[in-house]
Symmetry: C3
Subunit: 263 residues, 3 copies
Amino acid sequence: MQKDVIETLQKMREKSPLVHCITNLVVMQVNANVLLACGASPLMAHAQEELEDLEKIVNALVLNIGTLDKHTIASMNVAGDFANKYKKPVVLDPVGAGASKLRTETALSIIRTIKPCIVRGNGSEIMALAGELGETKGVDSTKDSLSVVKEAKRIANDFNMVVSVSGEVDMITDGKHIAHVSGGNPLMTLVTGIGCSATAVTGACMAVAKTPFIGAISAMALFASAGEKAGKKAHGPGSFLPLFLDELYHADFNDAAKRVTLS
Amino acid sequence: MQKDVIETLQKMREKSPLVHCITNLVVMQVNANVLLACGASPLMAHAQEELEDLEKIVNALVLNIGTLDKHTIASMNVAGDFANKYKKPVVLDPVGAGASKLRTETALSIIRTIKPCIVRGNGSEIMALAGELGETKGVDSTKDSLSVVKEAKRIANDFNMVVSVSGEVDMITDGKHIAHVSGGNPLMTLVTGIGCSATAVTGACMAVAKTPFIGAISAMALFASAGEKAGKKAHGPGSFLPLFLDELYHADFNDAAKRVTLS
Amino acid sequence: MQKDVIETLQKMREKSPLVHCITNLVVMQVNANVLLACGASPLMAHAQEELEDLEKIVNALVLNIGTLDKHTIASMNVAGDFANKYKKPVVLDPVGAGASKLRTETALSIIRTIKPCIVRGNGSEIMALAGELGETKGVDSTKDSLSVVKEAKRIANDFNMVVSVSGEVDMITDGKHIAHVSGGNPLMTLVTGIGCSATAVTGACMAVAKTPFIGAISAMALFASAGEKAGKKAHGPGSFLPLFLDELYHADFNDAAKRVTLS
């Protein structure tokens, strides 16, 4: 696995995959800057009239429901259909699933119809989705990592996708295997868009990885490594972001790979 | 008052109020980062379909008309009504009031119908609103601080709200009392979204403060302290923003409180 | 020419032109911060209801199609008509022209109907437009700088506008004369919105310059100088942006002017 992670991160830098993000209004700039620092190319666009043209040329599609509305939901669905038509991988970030019915239902609908190969979120979001996707409804968004593992494995299997859960230790599962990624820094939770950017980079890794599981792990490993190094130099969340982008740019792929353990 | 300011800023960090911002497209990222650095939690969302769900769980609603259009105005009105229904405090930033009829009228309509407990703007914006809200129309947006005080007091009384006016020395009034806050740095005017972020933090303070007057003062005091410290270290507006976020994160609440004088 | 560049940059700082940007969602914050650092004033707004009020008071209008949709296209057309009515210069950034039919056609339509005085883009974008605007359609977006010069000159003449092409060496033509601007740093391509910000500053320079040609050159000269200095101090794209803003703020207009050669 460590060799696969190194190879994926190297390929991302060599091939500079074009990642189409239909993402939330808060994080567009930081997502673009993170993708560029990692060696990928960002493309932000949502007009339905151009989505077929764009889905032909991009290497991955990342959907993020952070500031969703009926217009962006419609764009996500159209883009997702074209991504499927042109066989481009789709990654979903179900931001705020559980906080409103609209968010939970939009995320579920994308999972059921667009069939993303990776869903990346935090523990609460994954539990909210798993609760609705399971037989028992209304499961509490507890953050107990043990139940997240169980529920994440179940929905990974049911929907044939990889589930990537960020936390103090990240947990990624394809339904059969489980990987953990350790590292990072608490300041990462105090800068808006770091999680959403991890999803964007998951899309970039997915575009060049052998499997969605390796793609999802590689992105989180890169973030764990760069985040830990930036956190050691930062005086607070303001100085963290420029340092984090510089660390992503100078990323040590070996160090990133060492943060991954399979169980 | 100084004790109240310290207590409010401490509570904001302890309770981490969830602040729903319907704000302009330019400042979303910096508003979110400022709220996080201060210990609060940002929530950006505008889809009418989820506003009731969200207004139930948030601790304050901040409306900012910086890039308004008919869709965002409708969302602000719906969110404002639900905030009133669920007794969540509303803060308004009338960005650009006076620059266009649409901005002035939208701000006035929100003041009259949503009844925010705090309006925070610069001198020109407050004068533009006061001119329209008074008996004599068409008052010039002069920045004479004496007339701002008089007009701000009048609309504070007429609409039972606190008016917070930023400037070299900030002036906050509840219609009866007047507070001044000194400090800051001229670089704060050369970074987009610092004023809008002061409004967002006013919402966060309001969510935990004893009164809107104390909430409004606490936010400006925190900005005056952190801004002055960051300004001393900065080489320009680019280095100012990361330093400012770091200073907010390590805020000295006593220093903030010392910047407040009541008259 | 060097004297004209210095004079234009000085005037921009003295007169602080108000630049109305209808720009893409990714770069709004950085565009605003760059304009402020250069001494200009940003105004972001798109509601059709206020565009006549605003076009009366602004000093330039900058249109950027980076995240276009039918709503923003309509706003750009209305704003462009009012800018023409009130004799305010218009600058166009045809972001992504060639990547989708919608982008190419929107840019062409703005050139034909709004008649911007400057179009600023990269080589691929300018070639895509020149291909469609010429007799032979479907010209490849090759980046051969020789063909960009020829095609840029042709459309500059045909549409009576200045064409400003960014690249390792920037090339600006009014159809008769050609200017080159050298400097900058490769990190400028790894931070989102630097190109779009060059367009915004082109608008600010245009508002105070003797001719569109001088305005376009002055903006690129300022970026080449500040970008080169920031690049020498930066450790990566994250530290580059704050340094770049600081360098713009402390700009050396003589150094900027030295980067320009006429041929």
